[in-house]
Amino acid sequence: MHLSQPYRRILQWSGLARRARETTTELERASDELLVQRVVEGDIRAFELLYDRYARPVFSLAFRMLGDPGEAEELLQETFVRLWQQAARYDAHRGSFGSWLMSIAHNLAVDALRQRSRRPQRADFVDLATFPFHDIDERATALEAAEVSELRDRVRRALAQLPEPQRQVIELAYFGGLTHSEIATVLGEPIGTIKTRLRLAMQKLQVLLRDHPNGALGDG
């Protein structure tokens, strides 16, 4: 039977044609970009595979920023709901999928922090043994995207090479969602000093991370 273009499109949307000939294993090997495309078409299987790959970094970022497991979990869900609703907005020419998704999570966390009157609790001080859940998602650990752990190591190494005061201002700005003047208040230092320190810190970090280009990042 000859299939016209819209007819094929309907089959694609319904996932019916694919369901018949594509095994889950094939989909598991697919790139993030292909999986996002499938999510645009409404494929829940592709969505779950992206969740497997990125739930852990998203949750870890949210927990680092919000310092509360319950809030971090809400943010994790909200980030992926946005992925489901807005997958078509992802543009592979502008960067990796991972960076795009993490930016969504980061923006949501900054909004949450700014809505709070209180300042973020340092996640480092939360005792993981007191987590209110015992049902750990093993898939999210086992299937985490390989780039994520590479990046985690690389960025942590770069941060470790910064002088402690520089690393501190970067972390307060990025994870704490604080501005120049707020950082100055927290640290009790003049705002001019903070501006200079943050500029130098970012310049150094850019150099450190640029030396090891990673294709998955969409650099350049």
Partner: protein
């Protein structure tokens, strides 16, 4: 060498890294955004800085993810239509009385208006409408039917409605409102989809208020179909969908 870009001295270089991190206070933010509108060089510098800032997201200490987050998320996703491209109408596994009640209002509401306006409507049509209403009431009474919500796409973006499936009587009722009236010669065609085969199930008639309903009682079991699709076709006599897709609902 001649500087073709904005002069370096005018560039707020000390703000670029902080801008990428989102750490600027409102006054500085205003300064840099005004500048960025004019300076390609700084826009480039910000893009570079932002790529670095984005990498910081990956440096958070890894934590185990609670398993129930996945279950809750998937439940939420199934309740949302997707917004991009086509909207799917995701099946609700169980009846909710609220939805059923509003559907009834929707159906009876416009049925009454139609009847008042078309007093000349023939008797057998009225009987048919009664049969449909009885079917809806029966479905709601049984509470084991299946309700699939519909949301339009493309030019039919504002359309919404529902498909009610009653497996026991092998009947389905499609009710949509907010549907644009098709141009002369065009028609909304309903398809039952099985594998890669499309079976025409009927024409969805639209009244002047954008209301449409179709009662289906197919010869073959509805359980054997995978999906129901609505397309806007150039004429009712088509054997395969070629026109613009309006809605799709999976029946599995």
């Amino acid at each position: 060498m001649v500087e073709v870009d904005a002069p370096r001295t005018g560039c707020p270089e000390d703000l670029i890294g902080a801008y990428a991190l989102g750490a600027l206070d409102p006054e500085d933010l205003e300064v840099i955004e005004r500048h960025l509108a004019l300076c390609e060089r700084c826009r480039q510098a910000i893009a570079d800085a932002r790529r670095t800032a984005q990498l910081l997201a990956f440096s958070a200490p890894p934590q185990p993810v609670p398993a129930h987050a996945r279950r809750q998320l998937l439940a939420r996703i199934r309740a949302y239509p997707i917004t991009a491209g086509v909207r799917f109408w995701l099946r609700r596994p169980a009846w909710t009385l609220a939805v059923a009640a509003s559907l009834l209002t929707l159906l009876f509401g416009w049925q009454v208006i139609q009847q008042r306006q078309e007093a000349h409507r023939q008797a057998h049509q009225a009987v048919e409408a009664d049969a449909q209403r009885r079917a809806v009431v029966q479905l709601i009474a049984q509470r084991d039917g299946l309700l699939i919500r519909l949301q339009g796409t493309g030019t039919a973006r504002d359309a919404h409605g529902a498909i009610i499936l009653d497996p026991s009587s092998n009947t389905a009722l499609i009710a949509v409102e907010g549907l644009p009236r098709p141009a002369t010669g065009q028609a909304y065609v309903v398809w039952l989809v099985r594998g890669d085969q499309f079976h025409q199930a009927g024409i969805l008639p639209v009244d002047e208020r954008g209301h449409a309903e179709l009662f289906l009682s197919p010869r073959e079991s509805l359980r054997t179909f995978d999906a129901m699709a609505i397309t806007l076709e150039n004429g009712p006599q088509v054997s395969a969908p070629n026109g613009q897709p309006v809605a799709l609902a999976t029946l599995d």
